[in-house]
């Protein structure tokens, strides 16, 4: 460490080159962290789910509804503690530039089922009481400037016409993976306006013993196998996981790009280190003449490579973490809870180490092995 000033002096000899190289490393690691976070965020969404919640959909396909009459039968099933349901509304707001999910739910049972959707008690009660009310995620307040008590009109697509709701509650998710930009309104309102008996898009059930989920699910599916609408029941986690896969092979895409990025930056860094190495022959010779060991010189070069890679890494990885955290980024609602995880940071650190080795090794070995006499001859 007492030689640190030598390393710093070397770096300072070509400040511009040093700064540009550090900047390249920072950019590359920023990109790397961002790409990997897409993958980890999707994975987190895929893994989210309470062990005690099951989701029941129509076995034919998710776009087919289930009869509301199932609610009682499900409630009566042994092992089932609570039942709720929801319908996808799929409406458009304004110019539809910012998509957000809308669901028609049974307010009391749905909010009880999802304590993660947290809002003040009085707002909750207002939502349950008022037929044409809705609750919204707090991000919608930021995006559209909506306020409590305000009327909001949505254009229905599946259910045609203009639908007006009064905002009676603003919820905050207790888990970042849950979208904070949904709108929930009353299922009965949907029934009332369409004039048709209601259906459930899917059911959510809470069971008393998480270990029994497989057998309870099978029991439910057996129960409805031969009726009009057979069910497919599974854990909430399985349900969420299947959505995550709908994107396609995202991890392959992100991974490939990530590799290209890292490799490109490796070249830039190695190039810079090589250039420094060529110019340092004289100094190495002089240092060796003074009495510095080969090992020390090896170390000096590696530390130089390490500093460049390390500072770049801190800037890039740290920058990514800070940026996404502070802007509460969620990719327009598609990637809720977008946050650089510790594993990404660790892998980033690993990449940095790799960078340091790959770019510093050859110059370091050369410096260590440089025959003093030959080098001094070049000094003239």
């Amino acid at each position: 460490m007492k030689y640190l000033h030598l390393v710093l002096a070397n770096l300072g000899r070509h400040k511009r080159r040093t700064l540009l190289t550090i900047a390249s490393v920072a950019l590359a690691l920023f990109l790397f962290a961002s790409l990997r976070t897409v993958v980890t965020t999707l994975a987190a969404a895929a893994q989210f789910g309470s062990a005690r919640r099951l989701v029941s959909t129509n076995a034919t396909g998710i776009v087919f509804p289930l009869p509301l009459s199932y609610a009682n039968k499900l409630q009566a099933t042994p092992g089932v503690e609570a039942v709720s349901w929801a319908n996808w509304f799929g409406g458009r707001y304004g110019d539809n530039k910012r998509f957000f999910a809308q669901f028609a739910v049974d307010p009391a049972s749905y909010l009880e089922m999802y304590p993660e959707i947290s809002l003040p008690e009085d707002q909750k009660q207002a939502f349950i009481r008022e037929r044409s009310s809705a609750i919204i995620g707090r991000r919608l307040v930021d995006i559209f400037g909506w306020k409590l008590g305000q009327d909001v009109t949505i254009q229905g697509t599946i259910y045609p016409g203009d639908w007006t709701f009064t905002i009676r509650g603003i919820y905050t998710p207790t888990d970042a993976v849950i979208n904070d930009d949904m709108m929930l309104f009353q299922h009965e309102y949907l029934e009332e306006r369409t004039g048709r008996p209601g259906q459930a898009g899917w059911y959510v059930l809470r069971i008393d013993d998480g270990d029994q989920s497989a057998s309870i699910a099978k029991g439910i599916d057996d129960q409805f196998r031969n009726s009009n609408a057979a069910t497919k029941t599974g854990t909430e986690q399985a349900f969420n996981a299947s959505f995550a896969t709908m994107w396609g092979n995202v991890s392959l895409l992100m991974g490939t790009i990530g590799m290209a990025v890292v490799f490109a930056i490796l070249l830039v860094t190695a190039n810079a280190m090589m250039m420094s190495a060529r110019e340092r022959t004289r100094e190495v010779a002089v240092l060796k003449t003074i009495g510095f060991t080969d090992r020390t010189l090896f170390g000096l070069v590696m530390v130089e490579a390490g500093l460049i890679a390390g500072i770049g890494a801190v800037l890039g990885l740290g920058g990514a973490k800070l940026l996404y955290k502070s802007t509460n980024f969620n990719a327009g609602g598609f990637l809720p809870g977008f946050d650089v995880t510790t594993s990404t940071l660790l892998i980033g650190a690993g990449v940095t180490l790799l960078l340091m080795l790959a770019s510093g090794l050859v110059p370091a070995v050369r410096a260590a092995r440089l025959p003093v006499v030959q080098a001094l001859r070049r000094v003239e």
Binding site: S24, G61, G90, P160, A260
Partner: protein
């Protein structure tokens, strides 16, 4: 350019490793650039090809996709009888009422949790004439009244039990696969087609989702649209088929393109920094040569141009390398969910000559930007200093 190009070419070869590293760095950026845009391109192309300018698509008013739309039998018969529908060679209207359903199926070789929502389209015989560019490549069209389906090309590639002669199971029933079809690379190739009338009882769906018909006069689309939308019995929206499907590709297509530009911009800055480093080192190493050139009487701007060209050349080589690297990806089939219609759509990477050209131009721009300040420095350095 006064200073001979051979000087730049040979000088570049004097530092092969440095040049190679810089070129490859730029090449990687170009490869990612072309690859991602090819992805967006392919996705858009699949959807754009799906619709025809000669057809109109009818959805229920307010519906934003075939999925959320519904047309009852009465509406369908009113539409079919419209004079705006072109008659076919046999006199019957070129009109196709269709059911649009999404069925969960597992992809080949994937775990069963990974389901894709595949489009199963219930059609009548007319659909094969109305929808464009359909070619049955194997087997015979499904016979109405039978539990038979025809599978699109990419669907057959990616999902099991889809060979002609096999049985595909969905909706609690087995359906015999009797043919495969292609559709000029459009999104129909990701679909399964069967008899609409057979689907209705199975899926408990009365009526249809949408209707597509050949315009009697394609130039009179606006007229047809006005008349049909004004019809009080109907409550429909009418679109030009081509425009509608192109619109469906907007959101995801735009996302992919923005992603492409964002990622490659950041990468490009890194690569440019690499080029800057390389060129500064080159200028420094060749200071005596620059002094000679200036002394001989070459204009400083000739020197500037010379180094700019050198940098651009290195970048161009990189660009070509990048293109070679990314070309194999062309035609590779991949799939995703088009959130606009919630359906699985398979499409292939599509590299066009225009895209390759823009990749090359991109490389040249990176090289020129990277070389600018070093070249400027080379030209401006007073000869006397260079001589010391």
């Amino acid at each position: 350019m006064k200073i001979p190009l051979i000087y730049n070419l040979r000088s570049v070869m004097q530092r092969p490793t440095s040049t190679a590293f810089t070129a490859i760095g730029i090449g990687l950026v170009v490869a990612v650039f072309i690859g991602m845009l090819a992805l967006a391109n392919g996705f858009r192309a699949a959807l754009t090809r799906t619709g025809s300018d000669r057809n109109a698509l009818v959805l229920r008013r307010g519906a934003d996709s075939e999925l959320s739309s519904g047309l009852d039998r009465e509406a369908v018969s009113i539409l079919a009888a419209s004079p705006h529908v072109a008659p076919g060679p046999d006199g019957r209207p070129l009109f196709s009422a269709e059911s649009y359903l999404l069925i969960p199926l597992s992809r080949r070789g994937a775990d069963t949790n990974a389901v894709a929502n595949v489009v199963v389209r219930g059609v009548a015989a007319a659909a094969w004439q109305v929808r464009q560019n359909l070619v049955i490549t194997e087997g015979q069209a499904p016979v109405p009244g039978r539990n038979e389906v025809c599978v699109g090309r990419t669907m057959a590639l990616k999902f099991p039990n889809t060979d002609v002669g096999q049985a595909l199971r969905f909706g609690g029933r087995d359906w015999a696969v009797v043919c495969h079809f292609t559709a000029d690379g459009s999104s129909f190739e990701s679909e399964v087609w069967g008899d609409a009338e057979q689907f209705q009882p199975v899926f408990r769906r009365e009526g249809f989702s949408s209707a597509s018909f050949r315009l009697a006069d394609p130039a009179a689309f606006e007229e047809a649209k006005r008349v049909l939308e004004a019809d009080q019995r109907l409550q429909v929206d009418v679109y030009r088929e081509a425009a509608f499907y192109a619109e469906q590709s907007e959101v995801l297509g735009r996302i992919l393109e923005i992603l492409a530009f964002l990622i490659t911009s950041i990468m490009a800055v890194g690569a440019i920094f690499g080029a800057v480093n390389t060129m500064y080192a080159a200028v420094a190493a060749r200071a005596p040569e620059i002094a000679v050139l200036l002394t001989l009487g070459f204009h400083p701007r000739s020197v500037l141009l010379s180094f700019l060209v050198e940098s651009a050349l290195i970048a161009l080589v990189g660009g070509v390398l990048g293109i070679l690297l990314v070309l194999p990806v062309n035609g590779v089939v991949t799939s995703t969910t088009n959130w606009a219609s919630f359906s699985e759509i398979a499409f292939s990477f599509r590299i066009t000559p225009a895209l390759l050209l823009s990749g090359v131009v991109f490389a040249a721009v990176m090289g020129t930007l990277g070389g600018f300040f070093p070249a400027w420095r080379a030209a401006r350095r007073p000869v006397v200093q260079a001589l010391r």
